[in-house]
């Protein structure tokens, strides 16, 4: 175990996978000499050369589109999109192309591309840089959506992503890049997709979260403990595939649930979690499942982002309400 930030964990994972498999390469903007705007690839071009760490022209659709082609040629590309807000430019290559190649070709072709995209607020980034738009990719059969919350999770999930055959959108929380440090297992470390993680045990209410919101939920759980409420924190880890059985079990154990995410409410992935809970565990539910999310407004300019982002107090208030219901 070594203590690392998430960005360090990601960098060392990429490096290990590149050492393991010479077909692994990284495409992105400013990932070479600069090492990426967040330094996820720092030093890697010096080590692996310009053919494996490739600075691309400024065109997201062609980063994803050519990664598809590279994967068809037998390479194993990791595409870095500088911010998830710029996945919009590549949407038509991700959703109807990358995600469907296997299906469209009846399994004749596979496209094992991993797209890494940082996102999330609270880091005073310009417009369009912080938007949590993971939900826009969860309605896309064929695309896995992975949301690491800690450095160790990032390593385990990224390793699985790179080694897997199915395409992955790997969403990295900007806020967690440097803020959250944690122990990271050395050597081989993979985490299977579709299995949630109980980040904190609790009896009275389950807080569902992913990515940076897991830390928010943990803070809320700590605050709730002070008032005698025992909150379980569940990190969903992967939104697609979704651990429906794990969700049912978690809710069955507490009977009450709150879903927390950074994205706006309407059609955020919280909606899917709530629906799944009530389909799977309706008769265990003692209170409505509440959602604590950003409001239905575009991500604002930084002078006001603190009001936009879900706050611990709102999670605490919702958990309290869930627990006191009926």
């Amino acid at each position: 175990m070594t203590v690392m930030t998430m960005i360090e964990a990601i960098r060392s994972t990429i490096r290990e996978e590149m050492l393991r498999d010479e077909k692994v390469m990284v495409l992105g903007q400013d990932i070479g000499k600069l090492g990426g705007v967040f330094r996820a690839t720092e030093g890697l071009q010096a080590e692996f050369g310009e053919e494996r760490i490739v600075d691309m022209p400024l065109a997201e659709a062609s980063i994803v589109g050519s990664a598809i082609g590279l994967s068809l040629a037998g390479m194993n590309p990791i595409a870095e999109l500088q911010f998830m807000g710029f996945t919009h430019q590549a949407y038509h290559q991700i959703v109807p192309q990358l995600a469907r190649f296997r299906y469209r070709s009846q399994g004749r072709f596979t496209t094992p591309v991993t797209i890494r995209a940082p996102f999330g607020g609270g880091v005073r980034a310009p417009e369009l840089h912080s938007d949590a738009i993971e939900a826009q990719f969860t309605h896309v059969p064929g695309l896995q959506v992975v949301m690491p919350s800690t450095p160790a999770e990032a390593k385990g999930l990224l390793t699985t992503a790179v080694r897997g055959e199915d395409p992955v959108l790997f969403c990295e929380p900007l806020k967690g890049y440097r803020l959250v440090k944690g122990e990271v297992p050395e050597g081989e470390h993979t985490i299977p997709f579709g299995r949630l993680r109980v980040a904190r045990e609790g009896r009275d209410v389950t807080l569902f979260a992913w990515s940076a919101a897991v830390q928010l939920a943990e803070k809320a759980a700590a605050a709730l403990a002070d008032e005698g409420i025992s909150a379980q924190v569940v990190d969903l880890r992967t939104l697609v595939p979704l651990d429906v059985d794990g969700i049912r079990e978690a809710v069955a154990s507490t009977g009450r649930a709150v879903v927390v995410h950074e994205a706006p409410l309407t059609s955020g992935f919280g909606a899917e979690v709530v629906s799944t809970i009530q389909e799977e565990a309706f008769y265990s539910l003692e209170a409505p499942v509440l959602r604590v999310t950003a409001p239905d407004v575009p991500y604002p300019n930084i002078g006001i982002e603190e009001t936009f982002l879900p706050a611990v107090d709102r999670v605490v208030a919702a958990a309290r309400k869930a627990v006191s219901a009926r």
Binding site: P57, V64, G65, L72, H92, R102, Y103
Partner: protein, 352 residues
């Protein structure tokens, strides 16, 4: 930009020009062009009989498609198609019934056989172009001698993907040949409303990609330009853009009615430039094609198409359960449960 023309409308070679294809290859190309024409006709009637989905014919563009693919080696090279390149796909190893199965709606039967280096048809216009670039780049990285040929239309060339793909190909010197089939129309949108550029071939310079403009109804001009481009790519000299100026002599597809937008004179004048008769005239003039030869080709083609259509009719329709295959390498529980629920209802007979 000058347009390359070798064989005129009457089938005469430009003075002082050696044909880029020998008589045997030209005959082979002609046979493929005629086969394509026959498949088009039969596919249209199948569609009219309700035995086929939407189908887009190649008719009129046979020289453009066949000329382009001739220099490719199906054993090493790849084709990344749009949707109107049937004879190139046949030459590369797909079967008629395989191709038609796709348009009939049976992707299972249309599965590209292992070893055939062709990607599935592309419906999202121009989206195939960055794939072609990545594929070519990937071959190059692995020192694979393969070259990638990809097709796009005058319409598709307006999409942002065209720009991004050509620019990237230029930067990476990817071994890819872009064949832009300018057939004058994108459904009902004429070339004049598609772009104010004098020609699409002009665009190459903006990406550092050498480009050529050719008479796309001239088998020799297309084949020559394509051979040069493939050779350049193979030699590590990077991508080429070829604009083939051609004409779609039929409807956009089985759902289209061009009489709404094409004026008859335009169509008539292009009929004079039909790519097939000029190859026939040329070969005849060379003494390389007799009436019996032609009848022989036509009979072989008819037999082949009859066989294929029969095979197509015998193809098992896709099973309902195949709906759930190939989404993932391993289906997750959620999908397995959906599969169960839906097949269970289907088994009871579905009312709509």
């Amino acid at each position: 930009m000058e347009r390359r023309e070798l064989l005129d409308a009457s089938g005469a070679l430009a003075p002082g020009i050696d044909p880029p294809l020998d008589a045997a290859s030209t005959l082979g190309a002609l046979e493929l062009m005629l086969l394509s024409k026959l498949v088009d006709e039969r596919a249209f009637s199948l569609q009219r009989q309700g035995r086929m989905g939407t189908y887009s014919a190649v008719r009129g563009q046979e020289a453009s498609v066949v000329g382009s693919c001739l220099p490719l080696d199906p054993g090493t090279d790849w084709i990344v198609p749009q949707y109107r390149e049937l004879p190139a796909l046949l030459r590369h190893g797909l079967s008629i019934e395989g191709i038609l199965s796709y348009w009939k709606g049976n992707s299972e039967a249309a599965r590209i056989p292992e070893g055939v280096k062709v990607l599935p048809p592309q419906i999202g216009l121009a989206a195939q172009l960055p794939h072609a670039v990545g594929l070519a780049w990937g071959l190059k990285l692995q020192a694979d001698p393969g070259v990638v040929m990809t097709f796009v239309g005058d319409g598709g060339s307006s999409e942002g993907d065209f720009h991004e793909a050509l620019n990237l190909a230029g930067v990476r010197k990817a071994p890819v040949v872009f064949v832009l089939q300018n057939n004058g129309w994108a459904i009902s949108t004429p070339r004049s409303k598609q772009s104010a550029a004098k020609s699409f071939a002009e665009r190459g310079a903006g990406y550092g990609v050498p480009s050529v403009l050719v008479d796309g109804n001239d088998l020799f001009a297309v084949a020559q330009a394509s051979a040069e481009a493939v050779a350049r790519a193979r030699a590590g000299e990077g991508p080429t853009l070829i604009e083939t100026q051609t004409y779609r002599l039929g409807a956009h597809n089985t759902a289209d009615d061009p009489s709404k937008y094409v004026d008859t004179d335009e169509k008539l004048s292009w009929e004079q430039l039909d790519p097939i008769p000029r190859v026939v005239s040329h070969l005849r003039a060379q003494g390389a094609l007799t009436d019996e030869d032609l009848a022989g080709i036509e009979e072989r083609n008819r037999n082949e198409v009859d066989r294929a259509i029969e095979a197509l009719g015998a193809v098992r329709p896709p099973l309902p359960e195949s709906l759930f295959d190939h989404v993932w390498s391993q289906p997750d529980v959620r999908l397995l449960r959906q599969r169960e629920e839906i097949l269970h209802t289907a088994a009871k007979g579905v009312q709509r």
